[in-house]
């Protein structure tokens, strides 16, 4: 099996590592616009060779789009155009791994080669980026969401299920629009709250030494995602705009409830908010 990975960052690089390690891929072709990242990926043997997108699409059995969603949404129709040149017998499959799905599936909804695309979101990551951040085991035991599989060729879906099975991921199926609501609540908002926390503290604590000295484990854990890369997160927040706005509004409302309860010195109200929040214990270990 020949696999091409476009974008050799944290996700693309980690997939390359695992697909080779599990013998799912015999050859891995890399596509990477950043020269330094491309050279690093070759040097670390993440990929066997670097090609341009068109060559990689025409030569691979599976092409994985692992670039930020703003670029991915333009790249996907282009890859299906390349497949279209092979005609109806084209047996290649393209997937993307973006964390916004509605914009992706919409971009090729009417494309004649739509069925060669399988829309997936492996729910894994760290706050680091680039080929140096790639690591084995990143996907192990996590969920991978498959969206709108009814629009994809059946055998293509089965093949991609095997690919994620090789990464030891659990498949979950839902439509793209539900996916985007859930990820806004469970992933995207966490990043916005971390960014806002970092901004708040940096604003106040001009003396960085104090932050360094005083930061407890709790602060570090809450602010960790604020290290996340703008190249990845600007397009996510734009592409999932409506859902993200709704959850930010709900979130601001909760913060205002805390503020009002503290302002009023209403300890019962503060306790009630905290005890409701504590219910997250039942779900998150």
């Amino acid at each position: 099996m020949k696999v091409a990975v476009v974008g050799l960052g944290l996700i693309g690089g980690s997939m390359a590592i695992e697909l080779r390690r599990k013998h799912f891929a015999d050859e891995i072709i890399g596509v990477e616009n950043d020269r330094l990242n491309a050279e690093a990926a070759l040097k670390m043997s993440l990929v066997d060779r670097i090609e341009d997108l068109d060559t990689a699409a025409a030569e691979s059995d599976i092409l994985v789009i692992a670039v930020p969603v703003g670029a991915a949404v333009k790249m996907l129709p282009h890859v299906l155009d390349i497949y279209a040149r092979e005609g109806k017998d084209c047996n290649r499959t393209v997937i993307d791994v973006c964390s916004v799905k509605e914009a992706m599936v919409r971009s090729v909804h009417y494309h004649p080669m739509r069925s060669r695309y399988v829309s997936t979101h492996p729910m894994a990551g760290t706050e680091y980026s680039g080929p140096w951040a790639a690591m084995p085991g990143l996907f192990d035991g996590r969920a991978c969401i498959f969206c709108n599989t009814e629009e994809s060729d059946n055998r293509a879906v089965r093949l991609i299920e095997k690919l994620y099975d090789a990464l030891n991921m659990r498949p979950i199926y839902m439509n793209a629009s539900n996916h985007d609501v859930h990820t806004a609540y469970i992933s995207h908002i966490s990043h916005v709250t971390s960014f806002a926390l970092a901004l708040t503290v940096l604003d106040k604590e001009k003396d960085e030494r104090h932050i360094f000295d005083l930061a407890s484990g709790g602060f570090s854990s809450t602010v960790r995602l604020a290290k996340s890369n703008a190249d990845m997160w600007v397009p996510i927040l734009s592409q999932n705009r409506d859902n993200v706005l709704q959850v930010i509004n709900t979130y601001i409302d909760k913060m205002q409830q805390f503020r009002d309860a503290i302002d009023a010195g209403d300890e019962d109200a503060i306790r009630s908010l905290i005890e409701q929040a504590n219910k997250i214990k039942r779900i998150i270990r």
Copy 2:
């Protein structure tokens, strides 16, 4: 050295473990109102015996107040009253470990035995509570803040510095009012943002299975502090009210900047906010 620990929870229990392990204390007396916690602490040999507060205060060289700040602020003057009965030669020292300090030092500012009190805040913790949460190594390498040491007896301060040195903590000195500003920004707000995040997600995701399936490492890390105990956090947020309100207002303002930038589809503004937030990388590893 006889040490009494009042409140055998995460912090009190962990101190008891370490002070014995490092041979700082020959005997550890526990004071604990909750019968189950008291029995557990005895059974786990966290303490040698359980006494009431007055006995413990009259028999220990050092008494550590490790109860929530709302109770601590009432307990501290009472302990100094007990010391006062011994007269001027009383050589005992009381400390507290609360994460709000201004209310503590204010409660005994004019007490004739004020100098026997050393105000400290070991910056360590987890989201768990109770004697079962006590663990060795909790304090290792972390900062311990000493407040208003000029109001304490010199030798008492030296003794407590030795106590925290036995826990392998780095001392930092500042006045109580600065302490409360810094902890509002670096610790208390993290808890409020986590509580609000948990409330937001629980509100939306009535189907808890989805949260469980979809929660990435990032969400778990950001929401971790939402498991924190109301008995501890209600008094912290009340006692540090003014500082906490100020930081919540700044924080809501930052969230609104994100909302407005996303709403306007202004990718440059979103990028600028994220890149400013990324500066936290320089400080938090």
